[in-house]
């Protein structure tokens, strides 16, 4: 199963952990690793996530023990201890998190013994093991959150029925995580809930620290955040449900009703919210009824993306835009169970316009699947060609799009050709945003 990857669309566990901390206000990572790990991963996450930047203390600013051969031979714990002490002296933060790279894990540095030296410190310091050889950046998100859930989140807190936590959107790997979390939070608040997303607008470490009040964790993914939610349940007794990331009106309405049911909220109230949101949504969509039908904006689509975006966007273009997705490639490293969960997302669509679904991490594979998705030309005089086609993927699909002469919208990591600020592709707002971005590409020459 585990093999080389042709242009991986993720980095390593340490990278996932660092960008998760990047998204957490006033949390300060202390990297215990070789000197280049942090800078390499910053470059990946910055460019890949639509220029997310180093933020408060990141990029070349990340505190890092920069272990070299000497520490590899004699052990790196003294260096780590010194680095923690100096980081506390220098950097103004509310939570310090030691994250580890491969080298120090291979030499077996005893990190918890080092942390014991700092037991008397006023600010909390926790350590999470995040070596690259134990997982990719999506796994790093789970490892990091799992560590914070067990070692930082308050224990023994009374549950509140109206509080939920949102998991499953990986900061950085999802370039639009902040906009997406904001939209889902807005909608759940309309159901009368209080929502911790940890990484959302205006949230602080208090949201994370007190997240054990929540009576339910909602994992907006079939894959990411599930392991962290497991840890949360074991540590704090809060159960979780896993619902797919909703994009557009149909999926979001379904999401809200399922969330309301899971929380035993009034179905009627939820339906009122859904009806109101859908009315607002279609007030906008009505605008494009003219152009869509005047010039025929229906397209075939090929969707390439991670386990969150690939099914959600495929369904959105099929069930709402009335497009015909013919091929969807999910680019994550998934196990059999995770694959089955994703495959299930390609059922129950109102349009019945299901694509061929492939699971493949390799960028050069995408084009090979075209011949399975569409009958190749045999140089017939009349050939029903795979056009007009729209490619939705990452910047790795740019060459393919250029070769085929088809438009491309980059949504899934890496998104190096866009500046991402508060845009969202989740929820009702996200559906409008996605429709606008896709269709704008088609009419850009007008």
């Amino acid at each position: 199963m585990n093999k080389f990857v042709d242009r991986p669309r993720f980095s390593c566990a340490l990278g996932g952990a660092l960008f998760t901390l990047r998204a957490l206000a006033r949390a300060i990572p202390i990297i215990h690793a070789s000197a280049g790990c942090g800078y390499n991963l910053y470059t990946t996450g910055n460019a890949g996530a639509g220029y997310l930047g180093g933020g408060y203390c990141g990029g070349t600013g990340w505190s890092s023990s920069n272990v070299v051969e000497r520490e590899i031979v004699f052990g790196g714990t003294d260096r780590l201890s010194e680095q923690i002490r100096s980081t506390l002296e220098l950097i103004d933060g509310d939570l310090f998190v030691v994250v580890t790279g491969c080298m120090v894990e291979m030499i077996g540095d005893d990190i918890s013994a080092v942390l014991d030296e700092f037991a008397g410190e006023e600010v909390p310091i926790v350590a999470v093991s995040t070596p690259s050889f134990k997982g990719n950046s999506y796994d790093g998100y789970d490892m990091l959150l799992g560590g914070l859930f067990s070692d930082y989140v308050r224990q023994g807190v009374e549950k509140r029925a109206d509080v939920v936590n949102l998991l499953g959107l990986v900061p950085g790997q999802d370039a639009f995580y902040k906009g997406n979390l904001g939209e889902i939070k807005r909608l759940l608040e309309r159901l009368g809930l209080r929502v911790n997303t940890f990484f959302g607008e205006g949230e602080t470490l208090e949201n994370l620290k007190n997240s054990s009040e929540a009576s339910l964790n909602i994992v907006l993914s079939d894959v990411y955040g599930v392991k962290a939610a497991d840890v949360f349940e074991k540590t704090h007794g809060t159960p979780y449900i896993s619902l797919p990331l909703p994009v557009g009106a149909a999926q979001t309405s379904q999401f809200l009703l399922e969330a309301a049911d899971a929380l035993r909220l009034s179905r009627e109230a939820a339906e009122r919210v859904v009806a109101d949101e859908e009315a607002r949504y279609y007030d906008y969509i009505e605008r494009i009824a003219d152009i869509y039908n005047d010039v025929d904006l229906q397209r075939y689509a090929v969707v390439v993306g991670d386990a969150n975006y690939a099914p959600a966007i495929s369904r959105f273009v099929a069930d709402e835009l009335g497009w015909l997705p013919r091929l969807t490639v999910v680019t994550d490293e998934l196990d059999g169970e995770e694959t089955r969960r994703i495959e299930k997302r390609f059922t129950g669509w109102e349009s019945d316009a299901y694509p061929l679904v492939k699971f493949d991490t390799d960028t050069s594979s995408i084009q090979r699947y075209f011949q399975d998705a569409w009958e190749p030309s045999g140089n017939e005089r009349y050939y029903d060609s795979f056009s007009p086609l729209f490619l939705i993927g990452s910047v790795f699909e740019r060459d393919l799009a250029a070769k085929l002469g088809v438009p491309l919208l980059t949504v899934s990591f890496p998104v190096t050709n866009r500046i991402v600020l508060n845009q969202s592709y989740a929820g009702y707002k996200g559906g409008l945003g996605l429709a606008s971005d896709l269709l704008s590409t088609l009419i850009a020459g007008r």
Partner: protein, 501 residues
Amino acid sequence: MNYITLKSPPVREERLGTGVAFGGTAGELRCAQREGCINRASRAFSQTQGCQFTLSLGIINSLRNAVIIMHGPIGCGSCSIGAVGASQSFKRMRDPNAEGLIWLNTNLNEADVIAGGENKLKEAIRYADKEFRPETICVPISCVPSLIGDDVDAVVAELQAETAAVLIPIHCAGFKTKAMATAYDDVYHGVLRHLVKKPNLREDQRTVSDDLSDLRRKYRDSRTVNLLNVGSMSRQDEAELERLLNAIGLNARWLPCYSSAEDFRYALLSALNVSICGTHDDYFIEHLKVLYGIPYVIDTMPIGRKNTARWLLKIAEHFDLQDRAQQLIDAESRELDEALAQFRPYLKDKRVFLGGGEIRVVATAEILQDLGMKVIGFKGHHYDRFAEPLFESLEDVDDVLFNVATQQPFEQINLVNRLKPDLYIGHTGGGNLSAKQGLPLLPLFGPTYNYMGYSGVFEVARRIRRILANGQFNKKIARHCPLPYKASWYEQDPFHYIKEA
């Protein structure tokens, strides 16, 4: 110097006595370098920085018709994601049909850490050779396979017989050195051992040759120099340097960035190797001299008019063309003076702090002094003897502060806070912190801008004038986004965390 029989080159701390930690004045630093006592490398507080592996990619990501196999866990070399656009568009400036950046990662996991990653590497090499049919496959080797002892040279020797591509292992494990510029030696080491060989001219002849065309070719080669470009250069820089060489009757071949495999072979026909940046290429050109008898010039970097003139004269000297070069220099300099006049009133006495590669910061300072600006501080990634010639183009900088630090923006932030420059000229990475000091910022290099030669002086002047004309963006950032350092840090000695050992 001949390390070519070794598997990997020595690290620069050993080979050049390179130092990566120093705080003092430029005069003190140069004195310490001469006495061989700048070899400090540790800090009690440190920040992440480039490593050999990532810096190696700076060259190999630019090679045409090449596929790169990052041999390591999945995160190593993922920074190439940030280079996909630039790599492709700059390659296409040489060859409109060039492929974009293609790399694989061998994705070593826990089982491989125990059992070794050689089989996965073999699979990856076979796949890359078959799928992409590249001319070369570069295999940068990261920390994990180095530590577990994967014998990549043996894998390469075994597979070379079955692959169409030339296989080049690059030993660049990050943990081996803090002098990240050792990366250039690592890449050149692999290139010298596996790629550089005399071209087979007989095979390459497409028509029957005659004595006259042979003579012509030999004459042309005797007037051709290899210019060793660096990843931070632009095509415009190359065009400008080439223009100057052409003007004195010389031709240029460019290596190594954006080259293809055959460029490394034909380069052996050239009469002279010319360094553009001493940090990059001393290892390569010295070995080319030892192995192939090609003389070289390694001296200054052609940024600023004095440096450019000196660079040109050193090359001209080799061909006995000093008079022509001097005439060109005089004419260029006169014309440049006229062109710069419009900017001088705006730039005079403005105070500037420079940070980045030590060769480049010292070279760029010449432009600033030329424009009547004041250089008030340097920060160099490392320091060794190759920066020395650059100082000769500067005036009165002995007492100017010099911080040697690879990245380590915390020291720079402290210094900038003390020195309060009007402009910061800095290396890429760290803009998120520099911006919060509210200063206007000019990138020290940019692969789409011209910095070198005479046109480079004009371009830098013009851009500084533009950047100083409106600094609102960083001012607003500074007002709304705090730096992460405690107030006490700004009171502390900026070099407090540099350790003796």
